[in-house]
Amino acid sequence: MDLFVIPLLKILIVLNATLVGVTYMVLLERKVIAWAQSRLGPMRVGPYGILQPIADAVKLMLKEDITPARADRWVFTAAPIIAMVPALIVYAVIPFGDKATLFGREITLYITDINVGLLYIVSVASVGVYGIILAGYASNSKYPLLASLRASAQLISYEVAVTLTLVSVILVAGSLSMVQIVRAQESAGWWFVFVQPLAFAIFFIGGLAETNRAPFDMPEAEQELTGGFHTEYSGMRFALFFLAEYANMIVVSSVATTLFLGGWLRPFPGVSALSFLDIIPGWTWFLVKSFVFLYIFIWVRATLPRYRYDQLMRIGWKVLIPLAIVNLVVTGIIKVMLL
């Protein structure tokens, strides 16, 4: 029972919650951008358009699924799946909360806590690149090919910077396990964003680039590459790419919440004067923090123009990676000298 049923139930709940969250993320994005642009956004389907994601899903499922005539049929079909799966299995190690008692049974609010949790996230995320590269290759079309070359170069470059910031967090926390990192913040008494502000900034910028979000969204720059790597996709396969992108956004914000914003901890866990906030369950804090992060993602998109490809690479290699290395070295020196 405890070995199989509860983990299976957890997986089921997390997967479904993620997919629903992703579809509503799309609605949230449309709404927030609409408000930023003094519009209303979707209003027709349901009150204030809250049923819009369902209508979108139905529409995408019923659409004709086109495979271009000279596409590589197998790879073309596999690419969206390859993009979607890593985005979903990352949730296995994300701690949404500490423990909860449900029907007299104590349940941990994460699917599993493995020793190499952070490394697992990084490695699984690195497999997600394949979806984009293969989509561009298999479409047998020039715009997707250009976009997939851009995307893979971008993802691989920014992965370096992001991973280096993660290493400095690991140095501070002394563990690769996501749960242990949160516990380290609990015992330290403050969130790691105050310990590692530079790492947080680099992680945020790198996260924007890793998820192909504005201002680094040139792999899918509609104005330049007519939609990027998924130009030739339609119907449900396009929807999978779309969902994967938003699922990745949620992953990035969850990881940022866990590593830098104290996961399920309340603000300032070290200050006992704020302990009245403990009534609020941990998972609520987690969701609120992730939501704030996601909101910033959307806000940035509504505000900023797009970088150019070479400028993006310059920022990645000449600014973020050196900064991340300096941050790592300084963290190491402080850790060895002072602590």
Binding site: Q37, L149, P215, M218, E224, P305, R308, Y309
Partner: protein, 366 residues
């Protein structure tokens, strides 16, 4: 990129940022543009030839369809050319109204340019902001002539009808609103680091190059050449107002952007002066019942939002339609600069440069 082969990329005619049906055949080395071939003609409707079979008043309607985002300017240019051919004196009130309409149209056209240009570079919010203000102008036009896009708002010798009552108040109110909105656009773009990186040093043209390529309007002024027909060869009532001609220094995309933004302000200045000083009087001059200009030819140019919009008309003096009708479209001439500008830049810059030239394909192909 490693590949030595050049990639030939067909940008358009169906592409989200070629502003209609422009086709640019790019030869790419990686993402760098080695050469570009601009292919036009997808929107050719034969307006010039068609005009030779229409009478003089019917042509006004055709000129609407050239630069369809600045139809009033086209109307004014055409009517003034015919008036010049027939030597008709236009009443002062009509000339004032023409000036107001032209400048409103310039703001509307620049709004569209700003929105799409910013959209091409990825700033999607500016697009909707700019279109929101363009809507106010379209409302003003709708009140004046009943149409929102193709106005047919001019007649040879004057105006089709007088201004609706209270219209001038609304224009002044619009000027007040627009002042604040311009600051809003500037806040989003002018000092934005990403915007600066995307536009500075992109598609730089020196003054000599710009003149050689035959550019006019903001692309020419962005390169530092103070050429503006409103000042150099005043038409309508421009000689009665004070305004400045903004010019750029570097001649890059950013300078062209700054020039157009300053033109917004100068246009508002002209509109204010004109609306406040609008004289009473007739709106149509002495026009014969049948418009039939004497034999001869004439060329008359005005400053459209895109540049020098010139009409060359030949009349044989016998028929009620022109013998030859030719337009010098600013978009067409400015587009010639594209090939020179995109060389050595990246694909992403191509869309920025097309936006920066502000071409309307309806006018390029006619």
């Amino acid at each position: 990129m490693f590949d030595t082969n050049e990639l030939v990329l067909n940008m358009g005619p169906q592409h989200p940022s070629t502003h209609g049906v422009l086709r640019v055949v790019l030869r790419l080395d990686g993402e760098k543009v080695v050469d570009a071939d601009v292919v036009i003609g997808y929107l050719h409707r034969g307006i010039e030839k068609l005009s030779e079979n229409r009478n003089w008043t019917q042509i006004i309607l055709l000129t609407d369809r050239m630069d369809y985002v600045a139809a009033a300017t086209n109307n004014v240019g055409y009517c003034e050319t015919v008036e010049k051919l027939m030597a008709i004196e236009v009443p002062r009130r009509a000339r004032y109204v023409r000036t107001i309409l032209c400048e409103l149209q310039r703001i509307a056209s620049h709004c569209l340019w700003l929105g799409t240009h910013a959209m091409d570079i990825g700033a999607m919010t500016v697009f909707l902001y700019a279109f929101r203000e363009r809507e106010l102008i379209l409302d003003l036009f709708e009140e004046f002539c009943g149409a929102r896009l193709t106005y047919n708002s001019m007649r040879i010798g004057g105006l089709p009808q007088d201004l609706p009552p209270g219209w001038d108040k609304k224009v002044l109110e619009f000027c007040r609103i627009m002042d604040g909105k311009l600051d809003e656009y500037e806040e989003l773009l002018t000092h934005n680091r990403i915007w600066l990186e995307r536009t500075k040093g992109i598609g730089t043209l020196t003054a000599a190059e710009a003149v050689d390529l035959g550019l006019t309007g903001p692309p020419l002024r962005g390169s530092g050449v103070p050429r503006d027909i409103r000042k150099d060869e005043p038409y309508a009532a421009y000689d009665e107002f004070t305004f400045d001609i903004p010019i750029g220094t570097a001649g890059d995309t950013y300078d062209r952007y700054l020039v157009r933004l300053e033109e917004f302000r100068q246009s508002l200045r002209i509109i204010r002066q004109a609306t406040e000083g609008i004289p009473e009087g007739p709106i149509v001059g002495k026009v014969p019942r049948l418009i039939k200009p004497p034999a001869g030819e004439t060329y008359h140019a005005i400053e459209s939002p895109k540049g020098e919009l010139g009409y060359f008309i030949v009349s044989d003096g016998k028929s009620t339609n022109p013998y030859r009708f030719r337009v010098r479209p600013p978009s067409f001439c400015n587009l010639q600069g594209l090939r020179r500008m995109v060389k050595g830049h990246l694909v992403a810059d191509v869309v920025a440069l097309i936006g920066s030239l502000d071409v309307v394909l309806g006018e390029v192909d006619r």
